[in-house]
């Protein structure tokens, strides 16, 4: 190997030779550093950490009520060409589980049931949905919850986005500045 020859001349090579095995230590530090995050996430997905961040309890939607929280207190995540998404979780009041056929979430008031927004998936105790966030959304927008009964009735309620996800509003304000 020509290393030995170059050794006295190249400082970089000298550093590499001296420190190369410390790469091992650096690499081992990675999972150690992420371990608390890994277990916190596992707790979150098991539901042991509650619905999520910025929980809003007992939102009255017609005769029903539900709790809403964002999965994480953070800006929307990009999903390639599909755009930006924000995960929300909700839980229905125990008494209304039998009556409610579906729950929807949308930014801005839906004009009809067909445009009610994204469906909440999963058990009514802890349902989740991925809400598309158009980058042009106004920071003072509201998110609308639509509950559809098995009898066909519709009930709606809205809450300001600032309350449901401050991080999303901060992100939208930043998007506005960049334009």
């Amino acid at each position: 190997m020509s290393q030995a020859k170059a050794l006295p001349t190249s400082r970089l090579k000298q550093l590499w030779l001296k420190w190369r095995f410390h790469l091992n230590i650096l690499l081992i530090l990675i999972p150690l550093g992420f371990m608390p995050k890994y277990f916190a996430d596992a707790r979150l997905f098991r539901g042991d950490a509650g619905l999520g961040a910025n929980l809003i309890s007992d939102i009255q939607v017609g005769p029903y009520s539900l709790d809403l929280a964002e999965l994480r207190d953070e800006a929307p995540r990009a999903d390639g060409p599909a755009g930006y998404f924000k995960s929300f979780n909700a839980s229905l009041c125990k008494a209304c589980i039998k009556d409610v056929k579906a729950a929807y979430l949308r930014i801005g008031k839906p004009r009809s049931l067909r445009a009610a927004g994204t469906l909440f998936f999963g058990a009514p105790y802890s349902m989740g949905t991925s809400l598309p966030i158009p980058p042009r959304t106004k920071p003072d927008a509201h998110i609308w919850i639509t509950l559809e009964g098995w009898d066909g009735t519709l009930h709606q309620a809205s809450i300001p986005l600032t309350k449901a996800s401050p991080a999303t509003v901060a992100w939208l304000e930043k998007q506005g500045e960049n334009k």
Partner: protein, 403 residues
């Protein structure tokens, strides 16, 4: 040493020596990382079995010889009876009748444990502990615990990149091991010092592991390609995107009570009727009022699963994805994961994968031991020579004498 002197005289580095140096340097600066990735991979292959050994709740014990296994609907009914408020989301039978049925459920407090249910009695035997050994070993092995925030985690890239040096070490190893095909039954020499012992062991395990290293490194490299494709939003899959059930197909009820849906056994019967020979090892219950009952299970080709989505109101099989629906390319890409994990032929294959995983871990270790011993000797020799004649110093490692 004679060879070493020869090298020092020759101005050119011979080809095989170069190959040899490449081989010895491939894993070195990151050997501990490689070692742990191999070790956790070996554990991940049998993690399900380790949990089975450690936790009696995971076992499917038969109460007596006459008792038959329950159907999925019977298991569901037993669960609903035991915990009326609990919502069952998915039932699955792991590969192997000695495993309890797994039930993914959500409790009224919002927690979502996985329960182990006895397939003969329907009793809830336990739930996955907070420290999930299977998930943890897989996460450590698969993405070095680096979280997925935007597309694939960079830890995934870090680990899957190792497929390339691993493939290179296989190729260079075979190039420098002259007549390696004669090495399958060479005894390991003991009593000649540890350097010889580890060298013999490294070569012997190497030749027996050629196929395994090839499989693991090629499939590992596939994981790298998979991440690159996915992060660039390129898909090779012909899997249909099952849309939610059309609004008009989901009944409205005048009294406001939930519309009735077909039960799980009926869904399985309908699916088998539409797809002869469909085996059902897992059932996902509808996740919304507009969702299907999805059934899946192995097909004739053991490395791929088939699935069917049954409309619980119209009883129609709305969507299916069978082995015959796969493109030729998908046969290759979808086989990569089971080939990597050894999860396609029950316990015997898993044990083979575990054994060669152990050998591979030992090869990383023995490779390092050889390197340390040789380098220590070579450095000492080189230093001695430097004292005598500085110009003779040409390399810091000596060529291996036993190739």
């Amino acid at each position: 040493m004679a060879e070493d002197r020869l090298m020092a005289q020759s101005p050119k580095i011979s080809k095989s020596r170069l190959w040899f140096l490449v081989h010895s340097w491939l894993a070195l600066p990151i050997w501990f990382f490689v070692l742990i990735v191999c070790f956790t991979g070996m554990l991940a292959v049998v993690s399900q079995e380790i949990v089975w050994l450690a936790d009696p709740a995971v076992r499917a014990n038969k109460p007596d010889a006459d008792t038959e296994r329950m159907s999925f609907q019977q298991v569901l009914e037993a669960l609903n009876k035991a915990e009326p408020d609990m919502v069952v989301e998915r039932l699955s039978q792991p590969d192997g009748s000695h495993f309890a049925v797994k039930a993914n459920v959500t409790l009224p407090d919002g927690t979502s444990p996985t329960l182990y249910v006895n397939p003969y009695t329907g009793t809830i035997q336990g739930k996955t502990p907070d420290f999930n050994f299977e998930a943890f070993t897989r996460a450590l092995h698969g993405w070095w615990l680096v979280p997925f925030t935007n597309g694939f985690s960079w830890g995934w890239y870090l680990v899957s990149l190792l497929g390339l040096p691993m493939l290179a070490s296989l190729v260079t190893g075979l190039v420098v091991y002259k007549k390696f095909w004669k090495g399958f039954f060479k005894p390991v020499r003991t009593g000649h010092g540890s350097r010889i012992f580890w060298g013999d062991l490294h070569r012997l395990s190497g030749v027996w592991s050629i196929w395994f290293i090839a499989v693991i490194s090629v499939t590992g490299t596939w994981f790298l390609i998979q991440a690159i494709l996915s992060d660039n939003h390129i898909t090779l899959s012909s899997r249909p995107n099952v849309p939610v059930i059309a609004r008009e197909q989901v009944p409205q009820t005048p009294d406001g009570s939930p519309a009735s849906r077909i039960d799980l056994d009926e869904a399985a019967r309908l699916a088998r009727q539409a797809i002869p020979g469909l085996e059902v090892s897992a059932i996902s219950l509808p996740a919304t009022a507009y969702s299907h009952v999805t059934l899946s299970g192995p097909g004739w080709y053991p490395l791929m699963f088939q699935s069917a989505s049954v409309n619980p109101y119209t009883r129609n099989v709305d969507s299916q994805f069978l082995i015959s629906d796969r493109s030729a390319l998908e046969f290759v890409t979808e086989s990569m994961r089971p080939l990597h994990t050894g999860d396609f032929g029950g316990l015997p294959i898993k044990l083979v994968w575990f054994f060669f995983g152990l050998i591979l871990t030992l090869m990383v270790l023995s490779g390092l031991l050889i390197w340390t011993k040789r380098t220590a000797q070579a450095t000492a020799a080189a230093l001695k020579r430097t004292e005598r004649a500085p110009r003779a110093l040409r390399s810091e490692t000596t060529v291996e004498a036993h190739t």
